[in-house]
Structure formats: structure tokens, C-alpha cells
């Protein structure tokens, strides 16, 4: 049997995980997969993180901020994700629904989050594996 080349995992990071990394804290669930994965987040996550950083709520230098975002890929959020999010979220925590759809539509293997409510609501939704960081 021929050896099949193992493809890299695609990991989508929720905003709360990125805040933790930028603040300089370990995220063991992410670090475990780092060498075998490509890391992604959405433009919507970037939006909130950039604002939190700008108002001084995230403790990292401009250099660290740039280095982090240069090492991951930002995924677009469009009309489909926005309108479908209304439905799958049942009009509650719509932004969480947008993240889930963005990850699913870009064929992510995993989504990492610290948000228990989001995890509980969506962890059985489709093929996307969700990991609740501790």
C-alpha cells in the first residue's frame, strides 16, 4: 500500500484564543498542533482584536502584533456567512455563528475557543471539530 502524504491540519482560532496568545500566555491545545497545522482566523475576529489592541486591552507590542498576524491567514466573511448566521444562531450571538460558518465554509479541521457557550451550542454542528480550551 502506498504511503499517503499526511496533509496539514487547518485550525481556526476564535478571538478569545488569539487574545490569550497575544497577551503572551500559553495555549497548550494550540501549541500541541502548531508544527503540523496551518492557522487561520476570520476578518471579523481581526476586527475586534485590532480594536482591543488599539485601546490597550491586549498587552503586546506592535511588532508582536504584526508577527502574529503575519504567521496566520485571515479568511473572508461575506454575505452567505452573515445571513446564514442569523439562522443557525437563532438570532442570538450572531457573531459566533459567523465564525462557525466561516470555519466550515473554508473546510477547517478544527476550531479552538475558550467560549463554553459557543462550544455547547455548536460542537455537534457539521463536520467541524471544536475544541474547548481549558
Amino acid at each position: 500500500m502506498a504511503n499517503k502524504k499526511k496533509s496539514l491540519n487547518s485550525i481556526f482560532l476564535d478571538a478569545n484564543v488569539i487574545v490569550k496568545v497575544l497577551d503572551g500566555f500559553e495555549v497548550p491545545e494550540l501549541f500541541e498542533f502548531a508544527d503540523t497545522s496551518e492557522i487561520y482566523t476570520s476578518a471579523v475576529c481581526f476586527n475586534i482584536i485590532a480594536y482591543l489592541w488599539e485601546i490597550g486591552k491586549i498587552d503586546c507590542s506592535k511588532d508582536e502584533f504584526n508577527k502574529f498576524f503575519a504567521s496566520i491567514t485571515l479568511l473572508e466573511v461575506g454575505e452567505y456567512e452573515c445571513f446564514q448566521a442569523l439562522e443557525i444562531s437563532n438570532y442570538k450571538d450572531i457573531e459566533d455563528g459567523i465564525q462557525i460558518l466561516c470555519a466550515q465554509n473554508n473546510s477547517m479541521d478544527m476550531l479552538l475557543t475558550y467560549d463554553k457557550k459557543m462550544f455547547t451550542k455548536y460542537h455537534n454542528n457539521g463536520s467541524l471539530q471544536m475544541i474547548l480550551c481549558k
Binding site: 497545522s37 486591552k57 504567521s71 467560549d115
Partner: protein, 83 residues
């Protein structure tokens, strides 16, 4: 009809599901599905990019996350939007 933007990779796996879902060669069904899609190419699986992330983690010193705050998305929004 709402246009769905989908990556080429996701289209491939979704089409497989669509085709497995029907038991005839109903190409109209497949065409109808594809017609509503805008296909975009997935970001290139860039090994250098992956190693950049690995390097980022290796070059930065991290503190133990024990006793650090785990934000929920609601909390982040409250901080950002001041609600």
C-alpha cells in the same frame, strides 16, 4: 437566491455529498446546486507560512496560562463595545 461563496476544496467535498445524496444521474440537481455558488480558490497550503507560525511560537516567550483570564466572546464584546 442567496449566493454562497465557497472554496474550491469545500466545493469538492460538498459535491461529493450532493452526488451521494441522489440515486440517479440527475445532473440538473447538481447544476442547480453549483449555479448558486461563487467558487474561490483556498489559500495556498504554504509550508513556509506554517513554519512561520511555528517560529513565532518558538521565538516568543510565553507565560503559564495558569490563573490567567479566559475571556468569553461576550466579555470581549463588552470590553470592545463598552456595554
Amino acid at each position: 437566491m442567496l449566493t454562497k461563496t465557497i472554496t474550491a476544496k469545500a466545493l469538492r467535498s460538498n459535491l461529493r455529498e450532493v452526488i451521494m445524496d441522489i440515486d440517479t444521474n440527475n445532473t440538473d440537481y447538481i447544476l442547480e446546486y453549483v449555479k448558486g455558488l461563487k467558487v474561490k480558490i483556498s489559500p495556498i497550503r504554504d509550508l513556509e507560512k506554517k513554519s512561520k507560525f511555528g517560529n513565532y511560537l518558538k521565538t516568543r516567550k510565553f507565560k503559564s496560562s495558569k490563573n490567567s483570564k479566559n475571556y468569553t466572546n461576550d466579555e470581549l464584546r463588552k470590553i470592545a463595545y463598552g456595554q
